[in-house]
Symmetry: none
Subunit: 134 residues, 4 copies
Amino acid sequence: MPFTFNIATGSSVPIYKQIADQVRLAVANGKLTVETQLPSVRALAEELVVNPNTVARAYTDLAREGFIEARAGKGVFIIPKRKVISREEGWRRLEPLIDGLIGEAAALDFSREELEQAVRKKLSQWKTPPNNKL
Amino acid sequence: MPFTFNIATGSSVPIYKQIADQVRLAVANGKLTVETQLPSVRALAEELVVNPNTVARAYTDLAREGFIEARAGKGVFIIPKRKVISREEGWRRLEPLIDGLIGEAAALDFSREELEQAVRKKLSQWKTPPNNKL
Amino acid sequence: MPFTFNIATGSSVPIYKQIADQVRLAVANGKLTVETQLPSVRALAEELVVNPNTVARAYTDLAREGFIEARAGKGVFIIPKRKVISREEGWRRLEPLIDGLIGEAAALDFSREELEQAVRKKLSQWKTPPNNKL
Amino acid sequence: MPFTFNIATGSSVPIYKQIADQVRLAVANGKLTVETQLPSVRALAEELVVNPNTVARAYTDLAREGFIEARAGKGVFIIPKRKVISREEGWRRLEPLIDGLIGEAAALDFSREELEQAVRKKLSQWKTPPNNKL
DNA sequence: GTGGTCTAGACCACG
DNA sequence: GTGGTCTAGACCACC
């Protein structure tokens, strides 16, 4: 079964980020492996009924982050994740996201235990890909 | 020492959200307790050098979420958190946040173990309030 | 005939609430159905001769309540109503509204029978949508 | 047992209106009868821990509507409700309140049946006072 | 004094 | 094109 995307219209999360997040998660999960080809910008835009610019934006972000590579005339492919930013810089960006998640969970009336369980469940699907040498 | 805010201008996360997030997190961590008074809209706006409307927007959101209460002529106060969001809506909003966090962590070259540890550490600071009686 | 709005300037009811109330009622009465597009923020602001922010405020409230969905670049659409408010919070907010209505009716010299009849008549127009499938 | 007031701080309903609404409802219910004396502005303000101006505002509104009468040196008393406004004007003011209630109920995810039942329950407590001759 | 509403207009993110 | 954010400043309701 090929990898499929799920788009939620009207979400506060922009569509281009939903697309990119799903690719990132699928790579982390091992559901998308190195050398897998992704749909072309045009094809994916048509399939998801979104603007091609939106798909292009997601692919651009993913390429900049070292997840994918566009090969002229061939298509877009998953590549071994390149390390792109430093440890300290990464942590500096990640920490507020965790803080934001906790704040949001509290606002949504979840308990600490519930959030911990939800995160653990999502994380348990995450397999570190074998050829991430860094 | 009174609770102090830290605003990063030029961040992609809007100022009103930075303010609200810090209050949410401080309540979760027990740094802000029930009946504590927050700075007035005008005072905080002056302190942070932002527009009063921006502070008001943050306070409005927090009040709607059941964290605080605005008392006319008195000011803004932390209250025992009310449950306002339905269960289903809560999950609907929480899940993409977790997916986004994991996606970002992968993009930032963190391993599953590192993210899990970081989240666990942050979560350990979340104190469910000891049945706060006013 | 497209749905039209009626604004009473100088009313004690804020304009953004008048707009939102009319949408809520029209949805309840079946005059606005799922996938109907509302006027854009700018267009409605021009039509009603109010500030775009005022219209945006009404739309934001309606979106948060689960009546409508803003699709970037497309516009604002009626969606199948989502349940967003917890049961307890719902009652907490509804009860004072009913008390206020009865109090106002008494102040306006209506009898119990008159009020009951008026409410029943209005309620009879409230059509639960027939399990709207988009 | 004397009539007692219940004030919800931080409600969207202003305190002066909460006080006035409770008097109106109690008169409609027959819990407050003609010639009953209400607490003085000062006494009630102290009891409810609110600003005396707030109580005075409620009493002023009630007096204007013909519910109560201040007798110099004696105190404040319930009087036979005087008819203050015309039928048409009353209906013109009441209708949007009913519309607003229905819209709010829909926003709070109540069904038509639930709202009808809630209103009926409140209304069933309403006894038209015997000496309302109009 | 407090917060809530509204206007006016700029800038940006998204598609 | 759309809506979301922010600023600036006015006015009002409430206490």
